[in-house]
């Protein structure tokens, strides 16, 4: 690979300056709020009102909230352990299902959409102009005992009797999550698949690969970074979700980490416990994120060679 052209000192300063808005944004909307969360998590509460009193100086940090969280997180049968494991499982299943839906859709639109590409894409995205909450409320109607989902499944003889989808089932919550986030998976996959160099595929076919082999040996490996990006994009908000289980289930058996955070932050005297849960969730996501960066870096190195 050729070296990038060298630029003068003054010019570098100018280009570096372009990063300023981004850096400023990160500081104001990520670092500062994150430090506030740390301050609250390690802080105390007002003895009367229970309002958080953040500890800004790390020397004053009080680990009581973290002790409480860790105690429940690392003891078998602990409440926080249960919700963390459940959240991991739900998100994993929902991400796999989203991928299973999004990949064929994106592939079809990118490869076979032809001149309808733009329209197909707009059609896929259109329902998502409506707020997430509205769409979940619509699902409540569809999933009711006498709702259309049951009507259709009974008509098709998939079910013998109406199924009570809203009776606190994991499947309904996962369905809601998949439905809610799947377009965010389709978009990056489409953007990537649309740019796959056709000549590479033609070369594969010329060398005797069947359509399927060309897909398996060329397109699929090439799209690993896009798949991972899609997974990360939808997994992050799913980990913080708390209203999908609220709306589509309401049962403690399907509550997620987000529900516990909501419970501790919106009421009572233990906001630091809620903040400590946020920090634990972020740590877990940071580990997943690090793995993502590692895998994409490796994939890029491999492609670069």
């Amino acid at each position: 690979m050729s070296e990038p052209p060298r630029v003068g000192r003054g010019r570098t300063g100018f280009w570096a300056g372009l990063a300023l808005p981004g850096v400023g944004w990160l500081c104001v909307f990520f670092l500062v709020p994150f430090y506030v969360i740390l301050g609250v998590a390690f802080g105390t509460v007002d003895p009367i009102f229970g309002t958080p009193q953040p500890a800004w100086n790390p020397l004053d940090w009080d680990t009581q909230a973290f002790d409480f969280v860790f105690n429940s997180l690392f003891s078998s049968g602990g409440a926080f352990q249960a919700v963390f494991l459940r959240t991991l499982a739900y998100v994993a299943i929902a991400v796999v299902l989203s991928l299973a839906i999004a990949y064929p859709v994106a592939y079809y639109v990118a490869r076979f959409g032809g001149r309808w590409k733009g329209l197909l894409l707009a059609g896929l995205i259109a329902p998502f102009f409506i707020s997430y909450l509205m769409r979940m409320l619509a699902w409540i109607n569809l999933l009711q005992d006498d709702g259309w989902v049951n009507d259709v499944l009974l008509w098709a003889h998939v079910l013998d009797a109406p199924r009570s989808w809203l009776d606190g089932r994991a499947s309904s919550v996962i369905l809601g999550m998949v439905y809610g986030y799947v377009p965010y998976m389709i978009l990056p996959l489409y953007a990537f698949l649309d740019r796959v160099d056709r000549s590479v595929l033609e070369a594969a076919r010329d060398l005797g690969a069947s359509r399927f082999h060309a897909f398996r040996l060329v397109t699929l490996p090439l799209s690993v970074p896009a798949i991972l990006a899609g997974c990360v994009i939808i997994a992050l908000p799913m980990f913080g979700d708390y209203y999908t289980p609220d709306l589509l289930s309401g049962s403690p058996h399907t509550s997620l980490v987000g529900n516990q955070i909501d419970l501790y932050i919106r009421g009572g005297q233990q906001v630091p416990v809620g903040a400590a849960l946020v920090v634990c969730l972020m740590l877990m996501l940071a580990v997943l994120m690090a793995y993502y960066l590692y895998v994409t870096a490796r994939a890029e190195r491999r492609l670069g060679r």
Partner: protein
């Protein structure tokens, strides 16, 4: 197809009668907040940032050090709160200010037309700001950064508001209706002897709402009515109130523990074990939308507030009559009871006008209109004859147990304030249940 009914409730949920204690799902405020945070993909972090604004200000007025003053009022331990020198009541004979009158209330808990009428009569602007959980309201008031005039407090956090000097003492000269309209017993309630800081607003009991057409055994058929929650025939259709106090209290009462304000960890443990057992037995769910869950048929058995049951007929699907609804409250009156209040904030810029507003809501006619046209929660007025509510068909015959009588306050257990430490024990038990262990 019940699409239409559900949609109707969505449309009206921001407008109609609902119980105030809504930590619940679709109130307008929560809706907006959740859509916004969802859009940011920071759903869990948003409320936290909102919550910790207070800490940054560090302006919690008079709170620290006041913890020692916090007395826990009980029915057998009435409390007369001190009047602090630096927080005196207003003098008598002052003219009402020019407004605008700023009101801070539960979402959907006052008839908008009443506010309009008051504004017209006094020639002022009336501005309503709402909240959806009690702690959210307290956190906001505790910052000292708000200047509302009128607030609608609740007995389970009331003492904190007095010792934290958030409320100002009332001058009864401006509120003659307290003596003429309100039940004598609530003119001098145990939680605020002499009504020094509050006047009562609404009263309610917490019982069990049910669908008489769906269940074969009602709470009235059982020797221990609270056992109804364990009826496996109602699996998936059994709800408790999504409230860290109300739901465990029904478990306490089921076990014969009548001190519903207990702070004994072993008693709260009994309630917690029963809650967890309920999850396994009937996959119990939690919600504060009792007033729509029952009429829409989502719930067959639902821990419910009496005022929600009075509003419930409005949400029934077309063609279904109110006779399908039922409400159980102990016939001997030994159940959970409570009342909400109205108060003037210390931060009020229009304290005289605010006093006039309190008096306005305690007017027999205004209070009654507010109840039957909108709120669904009854004011404790001498002029309201419980039997007449039924004969006038304000309340259907089969829901007459949802009407609260003055005598209920002698027998029922009042949901009162806990110490901060006690509140934490309740919350942790509740969180453990909600984690679905």
């Amino acid at each position: 197809m019940s699409w239409t009914t559900a949609r109707r409730s969505d449309l009206f949920s921001g407008l109609s009668a609902r119980h105030p204690r809504e930590a619940g799902s679709f109130s307008r405020r929560v809706f907006l907040e959740r859509s916004a945070t969802a859009a940011l993909g920071l759903s869990a972090v948003g409320p936290l940032l909102a919550a910790c604004g207070s800490g940054e200000n560090g302006a919690t007025p008079g709170a620290t050090g006041a913890a020692a003053d916090l007395q826990l009022a009980r029915q057998d331990n009435p409390v007369k709160w001190p009047i602090y020198e630096d927080n005196p009541p207003i003098a008598s004979g002052l003219e009402p200010e020019g407004g605008p009158l700023k009101i801070y209330n539960w979402n959907g808990y006052v008839w908008p037309r009443i506010l309009k009428q008051f504004g017209k009569e006094y020639g002022v602007d009336v501005q309503l700001t709402t909240f959806s959980t009690s702690d959210e309201a307290i956190q906001k008031l505790a910052t000292g950064a708000v200047d509302f005039d009128v607030f609608f407090p609740f007995p389970d956090r009331f003492g904190r508001l007095v010792v934290g000097k958030i409320l100002q003492p009332l001058n009864h000269d401006y509120i003659p209706n307290l003596a003429t309209s309100v039940w004598p017993s609530l003119q001098d309630p145990f939680y605020d002897q002499g009504s020094q800081y509050t006047v009562p607003y609404t009263i309610y009991t917490t019982g069990i709402g049910y669908r008489a057409d769906k269940i074969s055994t009602t709470p009235y058929d059982l020797s221990n009515p609270y056992e109804i929650y364990w009826d496996e025939r109602n699996k998936g259709k059994t709800y408790l109130l999504d409230d860290s106090r109300e739901a465990p209290i029904h478990m306490l009462l089921k076990n014969g523990i009548t001190d519903i304000n207990t702070e004994k960890p072993e008693e709260i443990d009994v309630a917690k074990s029963d809650l967890i057992a309920l999850t396994d037995a009937v996959n119990v769910k939690v919600s504060t939308d009792d007033y729509t869950n029952i009429p829409e048929g989502k719930a067959w058995v639902h821990e419910a507030w009496s005022g929600s049951m009075i509003s419930a007929p409005y949400y029934l699907p077309k063609g279904v009559g109110p006779e399908v609804l039922g409400y159980w409250f102990p016939e001997d009156g030994k159940g959970t009871i409570g009342n909400d209040m109205i108060a003037v904030l210390r931060s009020a810029k229009n304290p005289v006008l605010a006093h006039h507003f309190l008096n306005y809501l305690l007017d027999e006619k205004h209070g009654y209109d507010n109840f039957v046209n909108y709120v669904g929660y009854q004011p404790p007025f001498v002029s309201i004859d419980p039997d007449k509510l039924v004969t006038d068909e304000i309340v259907p015959e089969n829901l007459k147990s949802a009407v609260v009588r003055e005598s209920d306050f002698d027998t029922a257990y009042f949901l009162a304030e806990l110490s901060p430490a006690g509140q934490t024990i309740w919350q942790n038990a509740w969180a453990e249940f909600k984690a679905g262990v």
